[in-house]
Amino acid sequence: MAERIKLRVKLKGDIAEVKSLMVHPMESGFRRNPDTGEYFPAHHIRQVTFEHNGKPVMTGQWGGGVSTDPFFGFSFKGAKAGDSLKVSWVDNQGESAELETKIQ
C-alpha cells in the first residue's frame, strides 16, 4: 500500500514541531452517492497517536468531520535529535497505519 502517513518534524531548541498528513478518505457517512442516492458508508480515522520515545504525547479522537487526507500539527517539549517519533492511526473499519521517524 502507498504511504498513508507523511510526517515532518522540525527541532527548535528542545521543542519539536510536528506536521503530519494522513492519506484517508475520511468519509463521514452523511454524503450521498449522486448516482444511486445512497449514503457512502462512514470510513474515517478514529484514533491517531503520537509517541515520543515510546511515550504517548498526543492522541487524537476523530470523527468524520475531520477533512479528507487529514492534516494535523502540534508541538511538544523535551525533544532532542535522535529521539523517535511514532505516528499510528486506526479507522472505523479496522484499517491502520504507522510510521516511525528519528527526529533530526
Binding site: F30, P34, T49, H52, M58, Q61, G63, G65, F74, S75
Partner: protein
C-alpha cells in the same frame, strides 16, 4: 474444588487485566457516544461529564471568517492556560458536532492545528480542559460551499 475454581477465577481476572491494561495506558477508547450526539452540550457531557464550558480569553480559536470550501476549513486552537489535558473542536450545525478531541501529555504544547469539514455556516467551538474545568472560545464561520452534503 473450591480452591481450584478460585485459582481459575483469579487467573482469568489477572489475565483480563493484563490484556486490558496496555490499551488503557496508551490510549483511551474512542468516545463513541460523544460522536453520536447531535448537540454540543451532549457531546461535551459524554466527553467531559459537563456540558457548559466557561468562555475564556485565554483560549484562542483561529479559523477563517469566510470558508470558501466547507470541506477544508483550517482551524487552530491554542491556549495560555496551564495544565491542559484535552482540547476539543466542535461545529454546532454539523450532523455530528464533535469533530475531534485531543488528549495531551504534560510535555505537549497546548496548541493543535487541523482542517475540518463544515456542512453550513455555523459557530465553531474550541474547548480546553484543565484541572480547573472547561474553558472555551468560539467563532462564527460563514461557509460558501458546504462540506457534508453531496
Amino acid at each position: 474444588m473450591q480452591t481450584r475454581r478460585r485459582l481459575f477465577l483469579q487467573g482469568s481476572l489477572a489475565l483480563s487485566l493484563l490484556v486490558a491494561l496496555p490499551a488503557r495506558l496508551f490510549a483511551a477508547a474512542w468516545p463513541e457516544a460523544a460522536f453520536r450526539t447531535k448537540s454540543i452540550e451532549d457531546a461535551l457531557k459524554e466527553l467531559y461529564g459537563a456540558g457548559s464550558p466557561t468562555p475564556s480569553s485565554e483560549v484562542s480559536l483561529k479559523a477563517p471568517e469566510i470558508a470558501q470550501d466547507g470541506r477544508v476549513v483550517p482551524v487552530t486552537v491554542s491556549t495560555t492556560l496551564a495544565g491542559v489535558q484535552s482540547i476539543s473542536i466542535l461545529v454546532e450545525k454539523n450532523p455530528v458536532p464533535l469533530v475531534a478531541s485531543f488528549e495531551l501529555a504534560a510535555n505537549a504544547v497546548p496548541s493543535v492545528e487541523t482542517r475540518i469539514k463544515m456542512g453550513q455556516t455555523s459557530t465553531v467551538l474550541a474547548v480546553v480542559k484543565t484541572a480547573s474545568g472547561l474553558f472555551s472560545a468560539s467563532k462564527d464561520v460563514k461557509v460558501t460551499i458546504g462540506g457534508c452534503g453531496g
